[in-house]
């Protein structure tokens, strides 16, 4: 059928030569396809690409009354202010620390869980476990923060457990443990969910490999090390690249809800800072400059790690 269509178009093209005519014909033939794509494209234009043009207000003193065209151009003023601002380094430190803790402790967890789940022999048990492990992903951050407070407040379960074990209790929801608690929350919420993609990669491994390895006398540990882990390596690398690109993006919901006056010095990150300075206080241009800094760093990290990974191994995102 495809062949017939191609022949048809080919003969058509011979009769009426000209690329434009052919292209025009294809456009008409696929007119319903473009009709289908149109609402989505309009959506992307308005809600994604228009804001990208909007980043130019970072180079203006944007004033809501004067509007986009009426506001003064000020060059890099807001960026200079940004880097000399004491808040900037505080926010930068908090964001980086929480992100790094995330990459060190959160990132490997789904891989380990997926490898463990993969070794389970009883499929019903595995299914039930998966259902439970995915569950927290669907809970909102507000709910998770309430769960945290319920468990860790001075009358909470965890505090009681620590007392029961005979240790001194410090307030758990304090500045000193804040980053740790944020990391634990993230792991609890999404580590189970993160296994899905690795389990998919594991399911794609050719079973013949294991059979051959068993014949050669490889034990389970060796099979895991030489077959399983290398097979999911490209998935791991791709996810790590994408994760690095998100290094300055943290969950607004999580940190905004967990944040309060007591922990402000360790809880303020770029996402919450941009909201407070930009939308609440109305410094649109300054907050946009912060946002650009964040986006550009993210993009550079994705491109950089992707480049390095392509040079040093065969794995890359694009």
């Amino acid at each position: 059928m495809k062949e017939a269509a191609r022949l048809h178009t080919a003969s058509f093209a011979q009769r009426r030569s000209g690329i434009w005519r052919r292209a025009g014909r294809r456009l008409i033939m696929d007119r319903y396809m473009y009709l289908l794509a149109l609402p989505g494209l309009i959506y992307y234009f308005i809600f994604h690409y228009l804001p990208m043009l909007g980043i130019t207000i970072a180079f203006q003193d944007y004033n809501a009354f004067l509007g986009f065209s009426g506001s003064d151009w000020v060059g890099f003023k807001h960026f200079e202010r940004l880097f000399s601002h004491p808040d900037f380094w505080l926010v930068f430190r908090n964001t980086m620390m929480i992100s790094l803790l995330n990459i060190v402790f959160f990132f490997p967890t789904p891989i380990a869980l997926a490898l463990m789940l993969n070794e389970l022999r009883i499929s019903l048990y595995k299914r039930v476990l998966q259902t439970l492990l995915y569950l927290p992903h669907f809970l909102s951050w507000v709910v998770i923060c309430i769960l945290t407070i319920t468990l860790m407040s001075s009358t909470g379960f965890v505090t009681h457990m620590i007392q029961w074990l005979g240790f001194d209790v410090q307030p758990l929801l304090d500045k000193s443990l804040f980053w740790g608690i944020i990391t634990i929350q993230s792991i609890w919420k999404d580590a189970g969910w993160g296994t899905i993609i690795f389990l998919a990669a594991l399911a794609g491994i050719n079973p013949d490999l294991y059979e051959a390895a068993t014949m050669d006398g490889a034990n389970r540990w060796q099979q895991m090390r030489f077959i399983t882990v290398p097979s999911i390596m490209s998935t791991i690398v791709i996810l790590l690249i994408l994760r690095l690109g998100q290094i300055l993006n943290l969950s607004f919901d999580q940190l905004y809800i967990m944040g309060n006056a007591i922990v402000r010095d360790v809880a303020e990150v770029f996402d919450t800072y941009v909201y407070k300075v930009g939308v609440v206080q109305g410094n649109f241009s300054f907050a946009t400059a912060v946002g650009i800094f964040k986006s550009v760093i993210g993009l550079l990290l994705v491109l950089g790690t992707n480049y390095l990974s392509r040079k040093t191994s065969e794995h890359s995102l694009f």
Binding site: M1, K2, R26, L27, D30, Y32, M33, L36, A37, G40, L41, Y43, F47, H48, P51, M52, G54, I55, I57, L113, M116, E119, R121, I122, V128, L129, Q130, T131, L132, L133, Y134, L135, F138, L139, S140, W141, V142, C145, I146, I149, T150, L151, S154, T155, G156, F157, H160, I196, L199, A200, R220, D253, D271, Y275, G278, F284, T288, V290, G291, S295
Partner: protein, 290 residues
């Protein structure tokens, strides 16, 4: 079996136990909250290890449903979940189908434009200004339209559409069906796993909407559940500080907080297990290629 693999057996045993414990930890906090929400308030306020309800009462739930504005907020949340998910699914499906066809001129460019939004975005303030300029500020539309399509979901769906055998569509085409008919009569029908999966994703996102509501909604009458829940914690935390003076007055408040968590979570807990079998299939196919 040539010899008993004892090390292997021990590993299996430990694996079953450790994974079981981890899975139990996923449910445990919710269980504690459920227990507290139906217990008598003064027992909860005293604290202590509770594994089982002490004195059964639903007064916390009554308090919530009688709370001013609660029903309104609950209705708003249902609207943005149902209508928002419908809008998202229609837009995502209609966009993904043409993008999945390499023969459609420009589809690769369009797919890249979608993917690029995952790598770079204008940031919060330009987004906010666009929503304001379009006139959506402080309406429920602001919670449905600005994040109606998620790029990752488009990529999942495009990958899934590409796995559908071409013959089905081509034979329909010979029968004179156009692309619209093919999409809604044939492609959608063969893509139910991915449609179920993405519907769940969008619906949960909408139900859990918090950030957008903080950002775009000012008036109380357009507020949503998660924001109300957060306001409740703030109030209660302030009250905890002054608890010594007015302990009796606020004892109920502690169980109300727990009950509110259950109210906000229950719809998800009810729907999720039924759709879970689909998303293993739906996401896997999409995610490997994406």
């Amino acid at each position: 079996m040539r010899k008993p693999f004892t090390a292997s057996r021990i590993f299996d045993g430990l694996n079953v136990i450790i994974l079981g414990t981890i899975a139990a930890l996923m449910l445990f906090p919710l269980w504690i909250v459920l227990v507290k929400s139906v217990s008598v308030a003064h027992v909860v306020t005293e604290g202590g290890l509770m594994f089982w309800p002490e004195g059964f009462t639903l007064s916390a739930y009554e308090t919530i449903f009688q709370r001013r504005n609660f029903l309104n907020v609950f209705a708003n949340t249902i609207v943005i979940t149902v209508l928002g998910t419908a809008i998202s699914m229609i837009l995502t499906t209609c966009l993904s189908y043409p993008l999945s066809k390499k023969r459609v001129a420009g589809s690769t460019v369009m797919l890249f434009l979608v993917f690029f939004t995952m790598l770079f975005n204008g940031g919060l303030v330009p987004n906010y200004l666009v929503v304001r300029e379009v006139g959506l500020l402080d309406t429920l539309w602001a919670l449905m339209l600005p994040q109606a399509i998620q790029a990752f979901n488009v990529i999942i769906m495009v990958s899934f559409f590409r796995t559908i055998p071409q013959e089905l569509e081509e034979s329909a085409k010979i029968d004179g069906a156009n692309d619209l008919i093919i999409l809604f009569r044939i492609v959608v029908m063969t893509s139910l796993p991915v449609i179920a999966t993405l519907t769940l994703f969008y619906a949960v996102n909408q139900w859990n909407t918090y950030f957008q509501a903080v950002l775009y909604i000012n008036s109380e009458q357009n507020q949503v559940l998660q924001v109300l829940l957060r306001q409740l914690i703030l109030q209660l935390n302030n009250q905890e500080v002054i608890q010594d003076d007015v302990a009796n007055l606020h004892q109920v408040a502690v169980t109300v907080k727990q009950a509110m968590v259950i109210v906000a979570t229950l719809p998800i807990l009810l729907i999720y297990p039924f759709l879970q079998k689909y998303f293993a299939k739906g996401v896997m196919i999409g995610s490997i290629k994406g």
